[in-house]
């Protein structure tokens, strides 16, 4: 079992008005095999947490720690974090010019595993992953995310999740912009990865609808840069009915 531990994390970004604190002391522990949902209103810092774990240079950790099985994640470069077993499914995957999906997937897999995948099984794995996520095989020859629709980009993120087999996946609003069919396909992909790899999942979402397909054991409500409430799946049901007003009113 692996453990991703976040302790009293404070994170700031540079703005034109100077430094702005986004995360104001976040503490969270996730073990492999667990699914945690992080829910909260827009601007509460959910995506900042996701990007900070992955090491996006825009975010500065001012205090606190993130460790993976005791190893200091904050000391690792972005690629080292991926190699250590962390995977961020991005909210807005960028288009990468000049790099085909095939080439990208193989290069990333080689980097993460530290050795090139066996050609025959790899080709088969990629093909299967494409077909399970209902991605047209032609996409393999296209440049990464180039000209993909919003939904296609999200599917391709989950495709990578299935192929790279991380210890922990952080899904940053993977459900946003997906219709019901695509949401189902994507959720099935996440569930498969959890079943096959004992993956720990941090599911970041604004809405509860993805929780019909991916069942969390833990729900954390994010408000204004910290965890305002935690509980089991029943907390998500309550949010479904009441929305976030309760927390926002408390703040006011």
């Amino acid at each position: 079992m692996s453990t991703l531990e976040i302790k009293d994390l404070h994170v700031s970004i540079e703005t034109e008005q100077g430094e702005k604190e986004i995360l104001k002391g976040v503490t969270l522990t996730i073990n492999t095999g667990e699914t945690h949902a992080i829910m909260g209103p827009n601007g509460s810092g959910k995506s900042t947490l996701a990007s900070t774990i992955a090491g996006h240079p825009r975010y500065t950790v001012t205090s606190g720690s993130i460790t993976l099985d005791g190893e200091d994640v904050l000391e690792m470069s972005v690629d080292e974090r991926a190699k250590a077993g962390l995977f961020l499914a991005m909210q807005y995957p960028v288009e990468v010019p000049g790099v085909t999906m095939t080439n990208f997937l193989r290069t990333a897999k080689t980097a993460i595993d530290g050795e090139a995948p066996k050609l025959r099984t790899w080709t088969k794995d990629v093909k299967e992953a494409f077909s399970k996520l209902k991605i047209d095989a032609d996409f393999a020859g296209r440049n990464v995310n180039e000209g993909f629709s919003g939904g296609e980009k999200k599917r391709v993120e989950i495709l990578q999740l299935e192929l790279f087999k991380p210890k922990f996946a952080i899904l940053d609003e993977t459900d946003s912009g997906l219709d019901v069919d695509a949401l189902k396909i994507v959720s099935e992909g996440v569930n498969r990865a959890q079943d096959e790899n004992e993956m720990g999942t941090l599911l970041i979402t604004h809405y509860t609808r993805i929780l019909r397909y991916i069942k969390p054991q833990f729900v954390h409500v994010f408000v204004d840069g910290h965890v305002a409430e935690q509980g089991g799946p029943e907390l998500a049901d309550r949010l479904e009915e009441e929305g976030y007003d309760r927390y926002l009113n408390v703040k006011a």
Partner: protein, 426 residues
């Protein structure tokens, strides 16, 4: 970061009795100004000395460019001229102003023995078969080239493969004149492989005769201190096809001006290019496609990558579709990828259309950045920074490499790109 200019002459003259000013029954009459047989690029007149293209042609048209074999006809350069405004003249090391008395780079021919290499004197009438200098450096090279090396692809030859290794051995400013003749119905690939150190003003002529198919790769793989200004002009006869691929990696300053003129119908011109500029390098490509006759097709695609402080690339693409060139199909595009801060890519497509009766004409220019978000995405998938950059550059430039069609050559270029990428990382 990018500049797009589409030139359409302002002045319009009515022909016939159209009800709408500026239109004839054939459509919009875009340039009656050049509607005369004395156009400086109209057939045989190109070979005569012309000065400023005559009073009827405005300077703003590419057709109005002064052409002359006499260097004195060109004013001394100030750097403010339209065709020199991006070029750091000091770094030409005298190619535009000094006597070019150095020894021309050595030329060695290898290949499959179909092509023949010969030497003719500067007085031989073959000189100028496809070429008239259109700038001061080219005219200076014309003046000082003491002889001309000629590669001939014989009539009806198939699969001719000629590699000219052009080795610079000194930094004394020098001139060189080459002519490639692809005789009727021949098929050939010619590589101009520039290596070593040189300060070189060069004229290269391509005489692509009827139904010939000529592919040329001009590879600028110079050492870091080389300076190279090369004017490469082709005349493409009826039914012929000419594919030119400029590949520029090495040298302090490289300026390659490929130009191609249709001389007969149903001919095809493809101009491709790829360049990779490192810190401090100036790589410039100015090309010209002259549609002077009907029913021809041209396609232009140049792609470049830039990396490092003061890496500078310039691409200017002039395409002229003359009044007579009905049924023309033409497209030009330039794409740049800026990999780091401090690099600059200038890109100026100029499309002049003098007839509405064409199949198509278009241009595009994009200059994109490989930015922190691309890098973050690739690194978040375990790919280290160096590999991420290589992956992107290799993929981006590969589109041009794939255009070459010759496997051995493609492999060689892929290797060159790899070497360049490796060198950049040191």
């Amino acid at each position: 970061m990018s500049e797009t200019t589409t030139h359409i002459p302002d002045e319009k003259v009515r022909i016939g009795a159209p009800s709408i000013p500026g239109f004839t029954e054939e459509g919009e009459d875009l340039s009656p100004i050049n509607d005369n047989d004395n156009s400086p690029l109209g057939g045989a007149s190109t070979k005569a000395h012309s000065h400023g293209g005559g009073v009827e042609t405005p300077d703003s048209s590419r057709a109005g460019r002064l052409t002359s074999t006499n260097v004195e006809d060109f004013a001394k350069l100030t750097g403010r001229e339209e065709d020199w405004r991006f070029t750091p003249l000091k770094r030409l090391l005298g190619l535009h102003s000094e006597d070019l008395t150095g020894a021309a780079p050595k030329v060695e021919l290898t290949g499959n023995d179909i092509a023949q290499l010969s030497v003719i004197s500067a007085e031989d009438s073959l000189n100028g078969v496809a070429h008239t200098p259109d700038d001061r450096v080219s005219a200076n090279a014309w003046k000082f080239a003491s002889q001309t090396q000629v590669v001939t692809i014989p009539k009806n030859a198939e699969g001719a493969n000629a590699s000219l290794r052009i080795t610079g051995e000194s930094l004394v400013p020098a001139a060189q004149h080459l002519i490639i003749v692809a005789e009727e119905n021949s098929e050939a690939t010619v590589i101009l492989d520039h290596v070593g150190s040189a300060v070189l003003a060069q004229n290269v002529e391509f005489d692509v005769r009827a139904n010939a198919r000529l592919t040329v790769v001009s590879l600028q793989a110079w050492e870091d201190d080389a300076v190279h200004a090369s004017s490469q002009q082709a005349v493409v006869a009826q039914g012929a096809s000419f594919k030119h691929i400029a590949v520029s990696f090495g040298g302090d300053l490289v300026r390659v001006n490929p130009s191609a003129r249709f001389a007969g119908e149903r001919a095809e011109i493809e101009l491709y290019g790829l360049y990779f500029a490192d810190a401090g390098q100036h790589l410039e490509h100015r090309l010209f496609v002259d549609h002077a006759v009907p029913n021809c097709k041209s396609n232009v695609l140049y792609k470049g990558a830039l990396q490092g402080k003061d890496a500078h690339t310039v691409w200017v693409g002039d395409v002229l579709i003359q009044k007579a060139a009905v049924g023309t199909d033409s497209y030009e595009a330039n794409r740049n990828l800026v990999l780091t801060d401090g690099a600059r890519a200038d890109s100026v497509p100029n499309l002049e259309i003098e007839t509405g009766l064409i199949d198509g004409a278009g241009h595009a220019s994009t200059t994109g950045r490989f930015d922190d978000e691309h890098l973050f995405y690739l690194m978040a998938r375990g790919i280290d920074e160096k590999t991420a950059r290589r992956l992107v550059v290799r993929g981006f430039l590969n589109e041009i490499v794939q255009q070459i069609g010759d496997e051995a050559l493609q492999e060689r270029l892929t290797e060159t790109i790899e070497e360049e990428l490796a060198a950049t990382e040191n």
